[in-house]
Every structure is written in C-alpha cells, then in structure tokens.
C-alpha cells in the first residue's frame, strides 16, 4: 500500500522533472541572449534533475542509495548557482552584450584587469582590450 503510493509519487516526480528539463532546453534554444538562457538553464534544469533524483530516492529499496540520492540533490543545488554566477560574471566582465530589448542594466562595468592578476593570461594584451 505505502510502496504503491510511493511508486505513484515517484512516477509523478519523474514526469514533472523531465518536463522541467525539457522546458529548460526549450528556453536555451529559444531565449535571445546568454543571460536569459542562463536563467532558463540554471533554474529549471537544476529543479528538473533534482526532482528525478528525489524520485530515485523514493524508489530505491536500500537506505544508502536513498541517502546518496538525497546527497546528490543537495550537492547539485549547492553547485549549480555558483557555476551559473561565475559564468555570468565572467561573461559580463568580458563584455558579452545583452539582448537589445533589455530595459535595465544596473551592474557597473567590472574591472577585469585588476581582478584577474592571479590567473596568467593566455597571451599578452588579451586582457588589456576591454570594451567600456
């Protein structure tokens, strides 16, 4: 009885998670610029895979597998915003432009030259030319 209800809940979770993943992929293909695409991928994508991992945690019989799946969900929810933030900040600092229909850009231009002295440049002068 309880196991059957768990099975039905797991089925609903994997359907919902795969719908989230498909919508995130559709957003990646349809949205106009990098930042809006990142908005689709990092939110809807992580929710989708997290829901499917929770479904696996419900369905698995052994306790270690359940705990491992939940740990994977936590790890994924911790790392996905960090990587998206780093990628968006790097792309903005280097100067990839936003969509022309964007109405607001409150972020000041980041200074790549001062922040990145720890990383060796690929060639000389690559970091010097930064658009305003």
């Amino acid at each position: 009885m309880i196991a059957d209800i768990g099975t039905i809940v797991a089925g609903l979770l994997i359907i919902a998670g795969s719908i989230f993943a498909a919508i995130a992929a559709l957003g990646i293909i349809r949205l106009p610029d990098l930042y809006t695409r990142m908005h689709a991928a990092s939110k809807a994508g992580s929710v989708g895979s997290g829901m499917m991992l929770i479904a696996l945690a419900i369905m698995s019989d052994a306790l270690p597998e359940t705990l491992r799946a939940i740990a994977a969900v936590f790890f994924f929810l911790l790392t996905a915003p960090i990587s998206a933030h780093l990628l968006a900040k790097a792309a903005y600092a280097v100067g990839y432009s936003m969509w022309e229909g964007s109405v607001l850009d409150e972020m000041p231009p980041l200074d790549v030259d001062e922040k990145d002295t720890a990383t060796p440049a690929p060639e000389d002068g690559a970091m010097a030319e930064r658009p305003t």
Binding site: I14, S18, L34, R37, A72, A90, A128
Partner: protein, 122 residues
C-alpha cells in the same frame, strides 16, 4: 484493478514519457551547443547537458534498478561544476576577442563560426 497493478502501469508509462522528454532536452541542448554563437553559450549548454545527464541517470536507475549509477551521477555533477568554473576562469582570462558576434546578429541564423572558435580548438 488493484492499486498495485495501477502503480506498476503508471510507473512504466511515466518512465516512457520522461525518457522521451529527456531525449528532447538532450537534442535541443546539443543544437544550442552547435549553434553557439559565443563561447559562454556553449559553456552554458555543456552545463545544461550535465544536469540533463544526471536526471537521465536517475530515470535509468529507476527503470533498470541499477541504483549504483547514482555514484556516477554525483561524480558527473562534480566534474560538470569544475568544468564550468574552469571555463568561466578561461573566459575571464581570455578577454573579449575581436570577432565575437554581437547579440544583434543572433540567434539562430548565425552558426557562430566566428574567430572565437579558434581559441577553443587550439
């Protein structure tokens, strides 16, 4: 129909539906990686591909019962995170290349064979 039979049938149906939707997600993300047009777009596609693969591993684990694959999902998440961080550092260190297509030329009709591809492949 008992609840047990209904649950098994429903799980089979939802597994089929979710595998189809995940295949669609893989396809669309791969199209975005191929089209580009800039390097951060491709890195974002790579990140999305990793998360779709984690979900796919979870669905395969439910379908076949091989929950051993959860370890592979965790390792894949770690590797994907590190790859995205390393690519972000690379984008920051590389600076803006001169030939990056701007957003005005986007999105789909530009296959993105700009000069920034030479930086990746080398």
């Amino acid at each position: 129909m008992t609840l047990h039979a209904f649950a098994g049938l429903f799980l089979d149906l939802s597994l089929a539906i979710s595998l189809g939707l995940l295949a669609l997600a893989f396809l669309l993300t791969t199209i975005r990686i191929i089209l580009g047009p800039t390097l951060p777009d491709r890195v974002l596609g790579l990140d999305m591909l990793t998360s779709v693969a984690i979900g796919f591993i979870a669905v395969i684990g439910i379908d076949t019962g091989f929950t051993l694959y959860v370890d592979i999902a965790i390792a894949l998440g770690l590797v994907g995170f590190l790859a995205t961080v390393a690519f972000a550092r690379f984008i920051l260190a590389r600076g803006k290349t001169g030939g990056d297509p701007d957003v005005e030329e986007l999105p789909l009709e530009n296959p993105g064979r700009g000069p920034q591809n030479e930086g990746i492949s080398s």
